[in-house]
């Protein structure tokens, strides 16, 4: 059967159109939502979700085509401009006009890497949409949320499909904007009390932090453009490979400096976007956004984009850059993993684990294992999305309680959620036969291969030691999370957490909530409280809301009435799951259907995501031989970056069999060991009942008190940069944002100082004119008093002086004008004569 005739063969004629369709559908959805979102039935959520379903299915189809091509050993690299003539000339309407000057033109570029990424984005975004239907329903600005989230998807799709660095950057920034709007989603909703204040700061923090990285990326682009006069990836790869080929030796420091610098700047973009140390600060605070948004950011879009960029630009990096990348990645992995062990907020644990996993990917790419890194990104996308959505489900079930100490025993109440979350946790912990194991193992394998093959040694040693450590921590805190959340029995209100305002989290603290939370939700607390007394049944939902309405009625502060109405309304307008989400408040409850469907899809992918890449399921059981996995063959250097770099780095890949086997064995043992170790410790500490876990943990933390404080304080990076967000619910006024002894504080000081300079120094010219005018004003004032008793009091600040100047010049007194004229003329005459 010929490759062309098969329906899975890539057909430029219409497949590019399909891709384009998949790419614009979310945009269309956005426009529809913005235009008519409110008026659509159910505010158009199903509409957008179905649109996303179409996108997802297209991406899956295309992905299948790439699989098929890989099976038949066909090169899978398609460029709409070259093959179908589909160009978008951006700067100049035609290349003819641009004569001599580079014209920036965009086209769709589709290769195995893009295929995998696109599939991930499509599927995960679809699941997130589905999840949001159940999770966000009934919250204010519902349609805006869907509009933004689908534009978010649009941006990521564009980033994956763009064939040149500039357009990648454009969608990259567009994604930054959408993250700003989505993380700040609650900042327009005062009824979400704590999140309202938090999001107000977090969205800005996220945008600015990533903006720093974006600027670096821009500079890197400019540097490469300056040398190569092009933004197209294919061109850049070719030229960089030729450039590197001139320096065959792999010794560091012997590569063109500009290339190293440019590469570092591009990596700066990754540092910002995918939250590498030290610009990771924005990601934990991104939790201020709704949970689906966190899932998007952590799995499919934002952070994935940074790693995707590294994959795209891999051939443009000199080994020096790669070493830096590896080091930074490893540091991030350890750093974040340690912090993750101390977090109590369910989502915070996941956020730190994301950062640490990103560290894994980046480190892998830095170690030359671009395949391993991207592989891990793909698998991670699935199970991390699943984890976040499950966490969202748990939070939703526990009435927006996020503190794990207030959970426990949720397994009984939310079995499906528990199953999904457990599967994903196992996957991320790196238990064999689960997807996470393959990818993580590949990364550690890469490190050992390097060591045994004697390349990149410095960074490789670091990574080979650090990454397993991080993996151990990962396994530990993930299972810690599982135990704390699901085992033992439900224990609401163990500690007071700021999330409590969000309804009947713990009713015994209800009054405290009323003390400081926003009114809409204070009423909500009432509702649930009152309802608690009525016992738990759907029948009492209506009275509960009557209660809410009344509480709202005699609400002392009359404001954000619309918040109330929104809440009252959607509480009423809830369909079945809406009801139990608010009715059975006291104990957790399983989430509504859309959420569960989304969870199951992602959990399935999270578990078996690794196996898709393997050549055949049977052979894949011998997992240490995934040197010939589909992913590797398709995303291998030949198909991805062309022949030369293939030759150059094939040497890096193909170490001798002995070393390879050695490496496989070592890596296998190491990853198994660390995973089981972490899980064991977690079980020892947290797995055996809540009180005991508290005792043990308390003892340990007491023993290593100092270290614990530092780690729990996130190593005080935020404080150093001055971006720590302190939201004190007791204080009504906005919390102070910039501490003085920090980067931000310093820059603010600089700004104020420059403002002072501007007023007092740069303005000195005007000051001078002013002073001259002032003295002149004074002189003429006396002169005026003596000669013409007009009133000129040019005294005071130079502003008044100008006033007096004006008054002086515009006094409208003919005689005064005449005086000036005469004495001016005389002065002139005298001057002329004397000179």
């Amino acid at each position: 059967m010929t490759a062309e005739s098969h329906f899975l063969a890539f057909d430029p004629a219409q497949d590019f159109k399909l891709l384009f369709l998949a790419f614009v559908l979310p945009l269309v959805g956005y426009v529809i939502q913005i235009a008519a979102g409110k008026r659509l039935p159910r505010q158009g959520d199903w509409l957008l979700t179905s649109g996303l379903f179409a996108t997802a299915s297209i991406t899956v189809l295309m992905f299948a085509k790439s699989l098929w091509a890989a099976y038949h050993g066909l090169e899978f690299r398609h460029h709409s401009g070259d093959e179908a003539g589909l160009w978008f000339h951006w700067f100049y309407s035609s290349d003819e006009l641009a004569n001599g000057v580079a014209n920036v033109s965009a086209a769709i570029f589709y290769d195995p890497l893009g295929a995998a990424m696109l599939m991930v984005v499509g599927v995960v975004s679809f699941c997130v949409h589905l999840f949001s239907i159940g999770y966000m329903h009934g919250t204010p600005r519902y349609h805006i949320f869907f509009a933004n989230i689908s534009l978010f998807t649009f941006a990521m799709l564009g980033l994956v499909l763009s064939d040149n660095l500039l357009f990648l950057f454009i969608f990259w920034e567009l994604m930054g904007l959408m993250s700003y709007l989505l993380i700040g989603h609650f900042s327009h909703d005062p009824s979400s009390g704590y999140f309202h204040k938090w999001a107000t700061k977090a969205c800005k923090k996220a945008f600015l932090t990533t903006r720093v990285g974006d600027t670096c990326l821009l500079v890197g682009m400019v540097i490469f453009f300056w040398k190569f006069e092009t933004f197209r990836f294919t061109e850049l790869w070719r030229l960089s490979i030729e450039e590197l080929a001139r320096h065959q030796s792999l010794h560091p420091g012997e590569y063109p400096l500009w290339m190293t610098v440019g590469g570092l700047f591009i990596f700066g973009g990754t540092i910002g976007k995918s939250a590498q140390f030290p610009l990771h600060i924005w990601l934990p605070d991104a939790m201020a956004g709704p949970t689906p948004v966190s899932a998007m950011i952590h799995a499919a879009t934002m952070v994935a984009a940074g790693v995707f960029l590294l994959g795209r630009c891999y051939p443009m990096f000199t080994p020096d850059v790669l070493n830096v990348i590896a080091a930074v990645g490893t540091i991030t992995a350890i750093f974040a993993a340690t912090i993750g062990t101390t977090a109590y907020d369910l989502k915070a644990v996941l956020a730190w684990s994301t950062i640490s996993q990103l560290g894994f990917m980046v480190a892998a790419i830095g170690l030359g294992g671009v395949v391993a890194g991207l592989f891990h990104m793909v698998t991670h996308a699935f199970f991390k999305a699943c984890l976040f959505l499950s966490a969202g489900s748990v939070i939703h079930g526990c009435h927006h309680e996020q503190d794990m100490r207030n959970m426990g025993g949720v397994r009984k109440h939310m079995p499906i959620t528990f199953a999904c979350m457990l599967a994903s946790t196992i996957a991320i912990a790196g238990i064999p036969f689960f997807s996470g194991f393959y990818s993580k193992d590949m990364i550690i394998l890469r490190a050992w291969e390097n060591i045994l093959g004697g390349r990149f040694t410095g960074a490789s040693f670091f990574a080979a030691v650090g990454l397993p450590l991080a993996a151990a921590c990962t396994a530990f805190y993930m299972f810690r999370m599982i135990f704390m959340t699901f085992s033992d029995s439900y224990r609401p209100g163990t500690v007071e957490s700021p999330f409590a305002h969000h309804g009947g989290g713990h009713d015994d603290h209800g009054h405290a909530d009323h003390g400081h939370a926003d009114h809409g939700h204070a009423d909500h607390g009432h509702a649930d409280h009152g309802h608690a007394d009525h016992g738990h049944s759907h029948a009492h939902a209506a009275p509960a809301h009557a209660h809410a309405a009344s509480a709202h009625g005699h609400d002392a502060h009359g404001h954000d009435a619309h918040g109330h109405d929104a809440h009252g309304h959607d509480a009423h307008g809830h369909d079945a799951h809406g009801h139990d989400s608010h009715a059975e408040h006291a104990t957790p409850h399983e989430s509504p259907l859309p959420i569960l469907v989304a969870l199951c899809i992602l959990a399935f992918l999270g578990v078996f995501g690794g196996h898709f890449w393997l050549a055949d399921p049977l052979h894949s059981l011998k997992f240490w031989e995934h040197a010939h996995t589909w992913f590797e063959t398709s995303v291998s250097f030949q198909s991805l970056y062309g022949a030369q770099i293939g030759d150059r780095l094939a040497a890096a890949v193909a170490v001798d069999e002995h070393a390879a086997h050695q490496a496989h064995t070592v890596a296998l043992c190491v990853s198994l060991a660390v995973a089981s170790l972490g899980i064991l410790v977690a079980w020892l500490i947290y797995g055996r009942g809540w009180e005991r876990s508290q005792r043990i943990a308390g003892r340990i933390t007491h023993a290593i008190h100092a270290i614990y404080e530092v780690v729990k304080g996130k190593y005080f990076v935020d404080e150093a940069l001055g971006t720590a967000i302190v939201v004190d619910m007791k204080r009504k006024d906005e919390p102070r944002y910039e501490p003085d002894a920090s980067v931000i504080g310093a820059s603010v000081h600089v700004a104020n100082f420059l403002g002072w300079i501007d007023r007092h120094v740069v303005d000195a010219t005007v000051n001078l004119v002013g002073r001259i005018g002032m003295s002149f004003g004074k002189g003429s004032a006396t002169f005026d008093r003596v000669v013409i008793d007009g009133a000129v009091n040019g005294v005071g600040l130079f502003t008044q002086t100008f006033g007096s100047l004006v008054r002086l010049f515009q006094s409208g007194r003919v005689q005064q004008y005449a005086t000036f004229a005469v004495f001016g003329g005389l002065a002139l005459a005298v001057w002329l004569i004397l000179l």
Binding site: V787, G812, R813, Q815, A818
Partner: protein
């Protein structure tokens, strides 16, 4: 007397005219000052014309002609100025230029 003397007189007259304009606060003094200045100019014209020794200067009467024009224009100017004075008086009930300061707005 020589040309210098006439020029000196006209200069002094000119200065006095200016003083008259600047020093007094009554519009009429401005008017008189202007007349003085014009007179000073006239004296200069005529004097220079008179002491002009260029060839055929005897038939050259430009200076005097100028003087005549100046006088005529002075008449016109005085008429208009007086009208203005009356207007100012109507507006401000005063003939002090210091109070006619509408220009400043």
């Amino acid at each position: 007397m020589g040309l210098g003397a006439y020029i000196a007189v006209s200069a002094a007259l000119f200065a006095l005219g200016i003083v008259a304009i600047l020093v007094r606060r009554n519009v009429l003094y401005v008017l008189m000052g202007i007349e003085m200045i014009l007179n000073a100019a006239n004296i200069n014209f005529v004097a220079f014309n008179r002491f002009n020794h260029a060839e055929g200067s005897q038939s050259n009467l430009d200076g005097r002609m100028f003087a005549i024009f100046v006088i005529i224009l002075a008449a016109a100017e005085a008429a208009v100025a007086l009208a203005i004075v009356l207007n100012v008086f109507h507006l401000f009930n005063s003939v002090k230029p210091a109070e006619a300061d509408l220009l400043r707005e």
